[in-house]
């Protein structure tokens, strides 16, 4: 029903575009100069069709459910039901009307469901009638109004401006929404667990929180030494550090090779091949780390008399580094290539060799972009989840031995939120607190990255 209506409105939009343009041509053919190109007249009419339709649809979406609910429940008023009970009745009515109700069907509810259905269909058809009549009226009004000297270009441009603004607003609002979805749970968490214990505690053992029977009253003292985030922060940065130790040298060197040394033919094939690495799903890297690299390192270590955990930080970090290589190599290739040829010429003309030119001229000039790409890689490493969940182990050991297993923020969030969890429990809320810290850390990193890039850019351009 809605789909048909929508299609109809779209068709109406096209028709009004057509009529607007046609009218413009008619005006033009009577030797009058138009204030805008004919298609602007068309767009103008189409907008007069789109805006009322959008407004009515939104109003309907906001008010229809409330009004229908009020009408359905009006039968039950003055019978002494509580609000909660009324809500339950309404939910039952709705699921019965969808044919999904499984409980005992009472005649009352059956009657309500019928009423509900008939109200919905009335609402739908009245919506169609109202929308169509208003649209036609508004388009007709606009059609009559446009003449040789009416302004159509400016409203159309303003409309486009507004549409584009809304699109960019969506991204910003999403970010704000994410922060808000984290912040309340985080605050609740810190009401039970002191911030100090979270930031400086060295024992992370959330499984302990399972022990609590949910009927018991919440006793903060039983959580002491449970949510100390130091080991998992340390683990996160440690694994990210290992990853960057792999990714930065290899990525940078391959970026420099691609940009400066590779012939155009090699570059043509090598660059897409490297970028394929970036397209591999991280879960596949996780397999690779957990089933190939981890056991291999364990065997290698054992043969050398070392004690290596099968889920070592080295395996997870190393594979994560490989995952990040294409980001760094591809981005640094781009920034190096965009260093102006005139700088290379200037250096070569002084008798500098290729490596001297790269080291002394091109690399410093490309540095802001390279730093940016590295920090982007660090953000990826800190936020990476799948590889660490699969390959780095879940016990939060506080260790700096790359051969032992550690855990990261992201892996702990997964561990905490998997399965049935009671909301309002500190254990669940801990995941939100971790998510919030992760968000803050990556935010700071991005701010630093932007600052660095900006500072060097001022210096180098």
């Amino acid at each position: 029903m809605n789909l048909i209506l929508f299609t109809f409105i779209v068709l109406l939009g096209f028709t009004s575009y057509y009529f607007g343009r046609k009218k413009a041509y008619t005006i033009q053919s009577s030797n009058k100069r138009l204030t805008a190109l004919p298609q602007f007249y068309g767009y103008y009419l189409a907008i007069w069709c789109a805006i009322p339709a959008f407004i009515i649809f939104s109003l309907w979406a906001i008010f229809e459910p409330t009004i229908v609910k009020l009408l359905v429940l009006s039968d039950y008023s003055n019978q002494g039901y509580l609000d909660d009970e009324l809500n339950l009745i309404y939910e039952k009515t709705k699921s019965l009307s969808r044919g999904q109700f499984t409980g005992e069907i009472t005649p009352f509810i059956e009657a309500s469901a019928e009423k509900y259905l008939s109200l919905r269909s009335i609402a739908q058809s009245s919506k169609a009638v109202i929308v169509l009549s208003i649209i036609i009226a508004s388009v007709a009004y606009a059609y009559k109004r446009i003449s040789s000297n009416s302004r159509t270009r400016e409203p159309v441009e303003k409309f486009l401006n507004a549409v584009l603004f809304t699109a960019s607003l969506a991204a910003i609002l999403t970010t704000v929404g994410i922060v808000f979805s984290l912040i309340f749970q985080t605050i609740d968490f810190f009401k039970v667990i002191p911030l100090f214990d979270f930031v400086f505690g060295t024992h992370w053992y959330p499984a302990k929180a399972f022990v609590r029977d949910s009927s018991e009253a919440l006793d903060p003292s039983m959580y002491s030494d449970t949510f100390g985030a130091v080991p998992i922060f340390a683990g996160t940065f440690f694994i990210a550090f290992i990853a960057m130790c792999v990714a930065i040298p290899i990525g940078l060197m391959s970026g420099i090779y691609l940009a400066e040394y590779a012939s155009s033919k090699v570059r043509q094939y090598a660059k897409p091949l490297i970028e394929i690495l970036a397209g591999i799903p991280t879960v596949v890297y996780g397999f690779f780390a957990a089933l190939t690299v981890g056991p291999f390192l364990k065997e290698l270590g054992t043969s050398m008399g070392l004690e290596v955990s099968a889920e070592s930080a080295l395996a997870a970090g190393g594979v994560m580094g490989i995952m990040i290589i294409p980001f760094i190599s591809s981005l640094s290739d781009d920034v190096i290539t965009s260093v102006p040829q005139s700088l290379r010429d200037g250096s070569y003309a002084m008798g500098a060799t290729k490596s001297e030119t790269i080291k002394r001229v091109i690399f410093p000039a490309a540095l802001p972009g390279i730093v940016g790409s590295i920090l982007l890689g660090v953000s990826r490493a800190i936020g990476e989840t799948m590889i660490v969940v699969m390959a780095s182990g879940l016990a939060a050991n506080l260790t700096l031995n790359p051969l032992e297993s550690t855990s990261t923020i992201t892996a702990q969030i997964v561990v905490i939120l998997i399965g049935d969890q009671a909301f309002g429990d500190p254990k669940t809320q801990a995941a939100f607190a971790l998510g919030m810290s992760l968000f803050l850390v990556t935010l700071c990193l991005n701010i630093v990255a932007l600052r660095v890039v900006k500072k060097y850019r001022e210096k180098y351009e």
Binding site: S263, G346, A349, A352, R360
Partner: protein, 251 residues
Amino acid sequence: MIKIKAKNVDVFYGKKQALYNIGLDIEENQVTALIGPSGCGKSTFLRCLNRMNDVIDICRVKGEILINDFNINDKSCDVVRLREKIGMVFQKPNPFPKTLYENVSYGPTIHGMAQSKQEMDEIVETSLKKAALWEEVKDRLHEPGTGLSGGQQQRLCIARAISVRPEVILMDEPCSALDPIATAQIEELIDELKKEHTIIIVTHSMAQAARVSQNTGFFHLGHLIEHGSTDKIFKNPDNTKTQDYITGRFG
């Protein structure tokens, strides 16, 4: 004294021939101007003289170019040494994104010309003085070279080029991005520099060629149409094409 002797030089970009059988002698401690309409090959020829065409993948150079009687197109030629001897100044000022000091000390550093900081300071100072830039920048040697005005940047590039005491300086339309005052300063500088260096300048401005050069070569469609003393080329050319170009009938 002949410094550079080009014999039968052909240049190809891929399959397209850009220069045909160029033969040109360039005299020591004089300014030689190369003129001609756009795309005539004068810049290409200039870039042959310090093998800058090597940088372009598809470019091939044939023929002999003798500098001090040594063929630079020979396999035994060391490009690094060659470019130390033959400096170059480009059309658009291209200072490195480094400080003024580092810009000038770049060449001496990579060629190991200074043993101490003091020696390097001296080289930087003399180069900047020769480039007539010292007085303007001596108090801000450690600021970025890119912060200078266009004319100052170009003089910085000249200082960078002469810092390694080259025998020859190639200039590829060095004033085309500059205003008249900066142009006049550079021209004055060229006159000064020819005492110690051999200068070859590519220019679009015939007035500039007439002002600064002693010898002139006229290129057209990849051919060297005529060359000789600037006086003769401008007052009494042998070739009618030269005559037409000089008097502004085409180009």
